[in-house]
C-alpha cells in the first residue's frame, strides 16, 4: 500500500534519500536545491538515517567529497543547481570517468549571468556530455520515483555511472502537490545494499583510483565508459519494469501522450509536459490530433524511441528550456532531429522553440500557439524559420 501525501519536489527527494539511507551525502546549499540537503540534515540530526553528512565549503568540494567517498566504496548522494553544478564541472567528469556510481538531485535553474535564480535547463543541459546519466521529471512524484530508481541504475555492474535526476526549480521543487510515497521497508528492499566490485577500503584488494592514464590506455577507458552509458538503457528498462511491479507506476524511455494517431506533436522535458498535456486534451476535444512526447531520459539519449514515436506525425515542435547558443537550435532539438535522420524519419516538418528561459512562465496559451504554428507549417508545406522563440517579448529580430 502506498502512502498518500502532499509534498514539494524537494521534500519528496529528501524523503527518498531518507528511505535509501546512503552512506555519505556531501552538499553545499544553492537555491533552489538547498532544501534537499537542509531537510536531509534534519533526518541526520534526528537519527532517522545514519548517513555521514559532509557540509562542505563549495560545490567543487561537494563533488570531490562524493568522488572520494564513492571510490572508497560508499553509496553517495548530493544535490545542487545552476552555478553550483558549474562549480562541480571538472569533478563531474572525474566521477563518471572513474565509473563511480552516485545520485544527484539537479534542481534545474538558469546558470548566470546575468544572475537569475529561476528555472530553465541551462545547468543540466550544459552537463549533458559529462558522462552522467540524466533523468528528467515532470512532477514531484517522478522526481521521487526516479531518484529511487537512479540508485539501482547507477550501481548496476554494467553501468557504474553517476546519475543526475533533474526537476524544475521552484515549479517542481517548491510546489506542494499530491504524491504517493512508498513504504520505507519497500524502498529499502528495492534499492538493496550496495556492494561495489572494486573499492579503496577493500584491504584484500589494494587498488589505485584515478592515476595517470597515458596514450596507450585512456582511449580504451573512454570506450568502456561509453559502453557503460550504452548499457544504461537496458538497465533503466529493467529497473523501471521492476519498479512498476512494485508501485504500478510505469516509466519508459519516453512518455507518449495521445501519440497513436497524432498529426501534430510537441517534444518537451519536465514540468511543461504537464501543462502541454492539458492543452492536448483541449485540442483533442476540438478535433485536433495533437500529441506529446516527453523524454524521461536525455542521457543515454532515447533517439530510436523518439524517432519511432514521431514517424507518422505531420509536424513536430521540439522545445528547449536552454538555448543552444550554437546558431542552429537547442540541445534537445539537435539531438532529436539527428535521431530522426539516423532512424530514417525525414518526412516530418521540424521546428525548435526556445522557451521559459530564466523562469519565464509557460502558459497553456503558449503551448496552444505552438500547436497552432504546427498546423500553419503543415498547411504551408514548409518551415520558414526552424529556430524560434516562444514568449519572447518583441519577438525575434
Amino acid at each position: 500500500m502506498s502512502i498518500r501525501e502532499r509534498l514539494s519536489g524537494n521534500e519528496a527527494v529528501a524523503n527518498a534519500m531518507r528511505q535509501i539511507n546512503p552512506d555519505v551525502v556531501a552538499a553545499f546549499p544553492i537555491t533552489p536545491s538547498t532544501e534537499v540537503p537542509q531537510y536531509f540534515s534534519t533526518f541526520v540530526n534526528n537519527g532517522s538515517v545514519d548517513t555521514e553528512f559532509v557540509p562542505v565549503e563549495s560545490e567543487h568540494s561537494a563533488m570531490s567529497a562524493c568522488v572520494g567517498a564513492a571510490a572508497a566504496g560508499a553509496r553517495v548522494m548530493t544535490a545542487t543547481s545552476a552555478n553550483g553544478l558549474s562549480l562541480m564541472w571538472e569533478v563531474l567528469y572525474i566521477a563518471s570517468s572513474l565509473r563511480l556510481p552516485m545520485v544527484m538531485a539537479c534542481v534545474n535553474r538558469a546558470v548566470s549571468g546575468p544572475l537569475n535564480i529561476h528555472n530553465d535547463h541551462s545547468d543540466s543541459m550544459g552537463a549533458r556530455d559529462s558522462g552522467w546519466v540524466q533523468l528528467y521529471c515532470e512532477t514531484n512524484q517522478e522526481a521521487y520515483d526516479n531518484f529511487i530508481m537512479a540508485t539501482r541504475i547507477a550501481e548496476h555492474k554494467d553501468v557504474q555511472l553517476p546519475v543526475m535526476v533533474c526537476y524544475d526549480g521552484f515549479i517542481t521543487s517548491h510546489s506542494i502537490e499530491n504524491i504517493e510515497l512508498i513504504e520505507d521497508d519497500v524502498v529499502k528492499n528495492f534499492v538493496g545494499e550496495y556492494h561495489p566490485e572494486h573499492y579503496l577500503l577493500n584491504r584484500e584488494e589494494p587498488i589505485a583510483v584515478g592515476p595517470l592514464d597515458v596514450q596507450p590506455y585512456l582511449f580504451e577507458h573512454k570506450y568502456q565508459q561509453a559502453n557503460g552509458m550504452r548499457n544504461a538503457a537496458k538497465v533503466i528498462k529493467e529497473v523501471s519494469e521492476e519498479f512498476e511491479k512494485l508501485t504500478g507506476r510505469k516509466y519508459e524511455f519516453i512518455e507518449k501522450y495521445q501519440m497513436d494517431d497524432a498529426e501534430y506533436a510537441i517534444v518537451v522535458l519536465n514540468s511543461t509536459a504537464g501543462t502541454a498535456k492539458a492543452v492536448v486534451d483541449d485540442l483533442r476535444a476540438k478535433g485536433v490530433k495533437a500529441g506529446l512526447v516527453k523524454p524521461r531520459m536525455f542521457r543515454p539519449f532515447p533517439g530510436k524511441e523518439i524517432a519511432e514515436a514521431l514517424k507518422n506525425v505531420k509536424a513536430v515542435a521540439i522545445m528547449d528550456k536552454a538555448d543552444g547558443l550554437n546558431g542552429v537550435g537547442g540541445p534537445l532539438f539537435t539531438d532529436v532531429t539527428s535521431a530522426m535522420v539516423v532512424n530514417g524519419v525525414t518526412d516530418v516538418k521540424v521546428v525548435n522553440y526556445i522557451y521559459g528561459i530564466g523562469g519565464r512562465d509557460v502558459r497553456t496559451t503558449d503551448i496552444e500557439k505552438v500547436y497552432s504554428d504546427l498546423q500553419e507549417i503543415e498547411a504551408a508545406g514548409k518551415v520558414e524559420d526552424p529556430y524560434r522563440y516562444l514568449g519572447l517579448k518583441g519577438g525575434r529580430a
Partner: protein, 191 residues
C-alpha cells in the same frame, strides 16, 4: 476539469500569504482533493508585494503555470489595491475577498469595474482580538474557505486543529488563539 478551483493570493512579504496558501492546500488535501500550492518566487523582501496560488480539483492537475484567470482572489493587505491589478483575469462568476476595514461598497470602486462578488473582512481586528497580534493570514484562510465554499466549514475547522498542532508543535500556546481567529473570521465577512 469543471471542478477545478483556482485561487490567487496577493499579500506583502512577511504577512504569511504563502503559508496561508500552503495551509489551504493542506486542508483541501485532507478532504481527498488533488491540490497545488505554490508561491511566485521573486526578490522576496519584507513588505514587497508577493503572489501565491492554489489549484484544487477532484482530478489530477497537470498544468504547471501561474494562474491568470482565477476563480477567487484573496487580498491580504488592502494597500495593494493601489498598486497591484488584483482583479486581473478574475472570473465574474467568482469572488474577491479583501482584508480591509472598509465595506464591499467602499472598495468596489477600486476594483476596475469588477462585477463579481466582493467580500471584505477586518482581519486586523480578528487577529488582534484572538491572537493579540497582527497575523492576517489565519483569518484570511478562513475567509477564503467561507467565500469559495470549497469545503464544509466544520470539516475545515476540525482539520485545522490538527494542522496547527503539527505546525505549532513547539509553541502549542498559540493553537487556541489561531482556532479562535478562524472561527471569528468565518462570522466577520461582509458581502
Amino acid at each position: 476539469m469543471s471542478n477545478l478551483v483556482e485561487i490567487r493570493w496577493h499579500g506583502r512579504g512577511g504577512q504569511g500569504a504563502k503559508t496561508a496558501s500552503l495551509l489551504l492546500a493542506d486542508a483541501a488535501f485532507n478532504t481527498g482533493k488533488f491540490i497545488q500550492g505554490f508561491p511566485e518566487y521573486g526578490p522576496e523582501r519584507m513588505g514587497a508585494p508577493i503572489t501565491a496560488y492554489n489549484r484544487i480539483s477532484d482530478e489530477k492537475i497537470t498544468v504547471h503555470s501561474n494562474i491568470y484567470e482565477p476563480d477567487y482572489v484573496v487580498v491580504v493587505d488592502d494597500s495593494l489595491l493601489e498598486c497591484v491589478d488584483v482583479t486581473a483575469g478574475l472570473k465574474e462568476t467568482g469572488a474577491i475577498v479583501i482584508n480591509t476595514t472598509k465595506t464591499p461598497d467602499e472598495v468596489r470602486p477600486l476594483l476596475k469595474g469588477y462585477k463579481g462578488r466582493v467580500c471584505t473582512i477586518d482581519a486586523k481586528k480578528v487577529s488582534e482580538e484572538t491572537l493579540g497580534k497582527y497575523f492576517p493570514n489565519t483569518p484570511m484562510l478562513a475567509a477564503i474557505v467561507k467565500v469559495s465554499g470549497i469545503m464544509d466549514e466544520q470539516v475545515f475547522l476540525d482539520d485545522m486543529v490538527e494542522s496547527f498542532k503539527h505546525k505549532f508543535a513547539k509553541k502549542p500556546e498559540v493553537i487556541d488563539g489561531n482556532m479562535a481567529a478562524l472561527r471569528m473570521a468565518l462570522n466577520e465577512i461582509k458581502e
